[in-house]
Amino acid sequence: MITFMLNGKEIQVEVPPHWTLLRLLREKLCLTGTKEGCGIGECGSCTVLLDGMPVNACLILAPKVEGRRVETIEGLGSRESLHPLQKSFMDHGAIQCGFCTPGILMSSKALLEKNSQPNREEIKEAISGHLCRCTGYHQIIEAIEALKE
């Protein structure tokens, strides 16, 4: 049994010790917004925030999140109240197939929380761990840039 904060709520859950955080989220907690694109930390599709830092959930063993704070796409915003990043991605054409989108949104959130005025190079750096095959990244970068204060 592990206890951790998930999207602002404390949860307790049984999990086999060899399961990854990604598997726990997707299979046990039915939070399928976090995607598995490669399973070895190369594509960034499974990015969630752990204590505010972007991590590949496929590389984190589930028991390691005991007592920590995990944020996933499901906690980012809702239909009623979209996160500004979600709105900006929609408005800028930053979403094509959408498979990489949840992970990139989470990394973008972490970036803007740390640095509210990122320049283009900093944005590129912040999302460089994510593979996107559809967009060529430009409209994603523009969507993040538009939220500079």
Binding site: T32, G33, C43, Q86, I95, F99, P102, Y137
Partner: protein, 748 residues
């Protein structure tokens, strides 16, 4: 015409659920206690299957059943045109990754453990690695009919005479390699029997109706007993035009009568899905002193790998596009596609045209160099125009925007200050290169229809039915825009019902940049018929002659009595029935002559020119693409932001094709060693949209999906050649090749 829905910036209709993480892709689909499927695959590239032993595997706790070729009730062969690929190999495997058994178990772990315990005894057969070797008269046969899948020719004029008249001739050989689609979503899906007992498969795909035919054939079922539903699809780029998991899922659900689920690993996706065809292109071009092309002779040899897939299509399309977007009076092209024991090649964004563009654009620069001409001037001198005749004898009558894309790029180029190498970093060399292309919209010289329906029910709901699979490129939005513009109601008033074989009809594949043009036109036809039936009904309701009525902005109106007007919804309500319009469209093409390739392969073509600015580090071999000016004639941009999105993504994929992407069968199995561009590898892109309207296109539209990618690699390679003074003839231009070229230049 003042348009309200076409040409505007609106968020795509599918992006809200994607932004929220709610969209369900293959591995996200809810499924009640499914059995998990795992495929056992061949570790060797060519072998006889001597025997298989399942006993140990069947004893693994949780294993329900292991399927082999013997369990396939119907035809154990699939393929888009030539059906030669088994779902499960029965007696022979032809590439590393061929499926030999399918395990169904209660957990993924049990399925995997069982897969390791199946014993397969193989007897190795000689493997053929090179297509030249495959075509040797004494080569071992990979398929009984022989190792040549297809040979195709395009013959026009008299090349011998042409080369005699030529004042400059250049001849070179170009090679390209395997490229993986690298769509981000690994193939995954579920299958179950629906409430009507139909085998139902929900999965990512580019063509539900094709999948349905393949599954029905494999299971020997009537079509209506198979239902395919497309779920959110994490990219395609051609890789999901062939069936991937569909028949495996269906086979298991058919026998087990309970839900089943399969999720490919990334390694499996690399190993077993199709790749871009490696082509070897021998290209001879002749021109007059003024730069006018007079003859080309081209020989293309492609590697289709173990199975046909789209190999024939690529051979034909490569040949048809061999001239590039130029008028050439004398043309001789031979294009052959051979089987080998390599990974099978299939459709990938451009069907051979990206490879051909690398060759014809390198040739154009070589001619310009030999003639001391400006690379843009030589292209402008030769480019197709309205009235030009193509190599297949087709006269182009409208929407030939290649010249305009060149002029737009030229304006940019002329503004660029002369590139000067940085004196502090003499090892960094700068260069600018141009690449142009043409691309025929839709399938090549074959029937290519789409169908659609538009209806309104008495409760006022307006529905658009289309079989088109949106794979992220935005067809759902574009087709809704076309429908709402044509019928005169706002986009959110139309309910879209899509890509489910039980409720939609065949729209053909999301491929060949065809859905905006072809399915867009099918929808316009459906709306024309819906309007007609609305006018007929209104005529009865209002007791006004049909000829006095017309349709405008969602209403039927009278020509003579200006105050008479009845909304579409009102008509449906008052006549208490569903008003429906059936639509179809098949572009006007002709079959190509089997000897000479003459005919009308496509009803319309897209055109584009890219300019690339590069920096080459001559010490490390690293090429940085700093900027690409991407000028595209799309006919009409229905959704401009989407068009730009395609261009941006195409340039990124083209940069990967140019510089880094090289799949090696049996070796590259992950993103660790198969690299695709990241945010730090892509150039700045300046997109330029040229709208030379296509009279037969919906609101003038053509297509952009594949054209977006095609000119990038040629422009980048031409820029590298300018930067280092030495041309690279083999893709990708990776560090080793660039350093090799730098070395060659030093020795020269």
């Amino acid at each position: 015409m003042n348009m309200r829905q076409v040409g505007i910036e609106i968020p795509k209709v599918d992006v809200l659920e994607k932004a929220l993480g709610e969209a369900k892709y293959g591995a996200d689909l809810p499924c009640q206690e499914p059995l998990h499927l795992k495929v056992l695959r061949s570790p060797t590239s060519h072998a006889k299957i001597v025997r298989m032993q399942m006993e140990k595997a069947l004893r693994v706790s949780g294993v329900e059943r292991i399927f082999t070729a013997k369990d396939i009730p119907g035809k154990n062969l699939v393929g888009t045109i030539v059906k030669d690929q088994p779902i499960l190999a029965s007696d022979r495997v032809r590439y590393i990754g061929d499926a030999v058994a399918l395990i169904a178990a209660r957990t993924e772990e049990a399925a995997e453990e069982a897969a390791q315990k199946v014993v397969v005894v193989y007897e190795d057969l000689p493997s053929i690695i090179h297509p030249e070797e495959a075509l040797h008269p004494h080569a071992p046969l990979i398929h009984e009919k022989g190792n040549l899948l297809l040979e195709f020719h395009v013959i026009k004029g008299d090349v011998q005479k042409g080369f005699k008249e030529a004042e400059v001739v250049v001849e070179e050989t170009y090679t390209t390699t395997w490229v993986d689609h690298a769509y981000l979503e690994p193939d995954a899906g579920i299958s179950y029997l629906d409430e009507k007992g139909r085998i139902t498969i929900v999965c990512p795909t580019q063509n539900v109706h094709y999948d349905q035919k393949e599954v029905a054939s494999v299971l020997s079922l009537p079509l209506d007993q198979v239902r395919i539903i497309q779920c959110s699809t994490g990219g395609g780029f051609g890789g999901r035009l062939d069936v991937t998991i569909q028949c495996l899922l269906a086979l298991a659900a058919f026998h087990l009568k309970q839900p089943v689920r399969i999720v490919y690993s990334r390694e499996e996706v690399f190993q077993v899905t199709s790749k871009r065809h490696p082509l070897t292109i021998r290209y001879k071009s002749g021109a007059k002193k003024d730069g006018k092309l007079i003859a080309i002779e081209v020989d293309i040899l492609g590697d289709t790998g173990a199975y046909a897939s789209y190999g024939g299509t690529v051979a034909i399309r490569s040949a048809v596009h061999a001239t590039g977007p130029y008028q050439v009076p004398n043309v001789k092209v031979r294009s052959r596609m051979a089987y080998t024991n390599n990974s099978w090649s299939g459709a990938m964004r451009g069907f051979g045209v990206p490879q051909m563009a690398f060759a014809h654009e390198s040739q154009m620069d070589l001619l310009a160099q030999a003639l001391k001409m400006d690379p843009i001037e030589i292209r402008l001198k030769n480019c197709l125009r309205v009235g030009s005749e193509t190599a297949t004898g087709q006269t182009l009558t409208a929407s030939v925007g290649i010249g305009e894309t060149l002029k737009k790029v030229k304006e940019w180029r002329d503004k660029l200050s002369l590139l000067k190498d940085d004196s502090k970093k003499p090892f960094i060399k700068k260069g600018v290169g141009i690449g142009s292309m043409w691309y025929g919209i839709g399938n090549t010289g074959i029937a290519n229809p789409s169908t659609a329906q538009m209806e309104i029910d008495p409760d006022g709901e307006i529905r658009l039915f289309t079989g088109v699979a949106d794979i992220g490129q935005g067809s759902d939005t574009v087709l809704l825009q076309i429908a709402s513009e044509a019928i005169g109601v706002s986009l959110d008033e139309i309910r879209l019902i899509r890509a489910d074989t039980a409720v939609t009809t065949d729209a053909g594949a999301t491929s060949a940049s065809r859905q905006t043009y072809i399915s867009g036109n099918a929808i316009l036809d459906a709306i024309k018929n819906l309007k007609h039936s609305a006018i007929q009904e209104a005529s009865q309701l209002l007791n006004i002659d049909e000829n006095d009525l017309f349709f405008e902005n969602g209403k039927v109106k009278s020509r003579t009595c200006l105050t008479t007007s009845i909304p579409l919804r009102e008509i449906a309500k008052r006549c208490a029935k569903i008003l429906k319009g059936e639509g179809s469209f098949d572009p006007e093409t002709t079959k190509l002559d089997p000897q000479t390739g003459q005919g009308v392969p496509y009803a319309t073509y897209a055109f584009a020119t890219h300019l690339a600015e590069v920096e080459v580090d001559t010490e490390s071999g690293k090429v940085s693409v700093n900027r690409v000016i991407a000028s595209h004639d799309v006919g009409k941009a229905i959704h401009p932001q989407n068009v730009i999105g395609q261009i941006m993504g195409g340039v990124a994929m083209g940069t990967g094709f140019a510089l880094m992407e090289e799949y090696v069968p049996g070796e590259k199995t992950s993103f660790v060693n198969y690299l695709i561009p990241t945010s730090k590898d892509v150039p700045e892109v300046i997109p330029i949209v040229v709208e030379d309207k296509e009279p037969t296109g919906p609101f003038g539209a053509k297509g952009v999906g594949e054209p977006a990618l095609i000119p990038s690699a040629p422009a980048i390679l031409n820029a590298i050649a300018e930067a280092i003074g030495q041309r690279i003839y083999d893709l990708p231009a990776n560090l080793e090749r660039v350093l090799g070229a730098v070395q060659k230049r030093k020795l020269a």
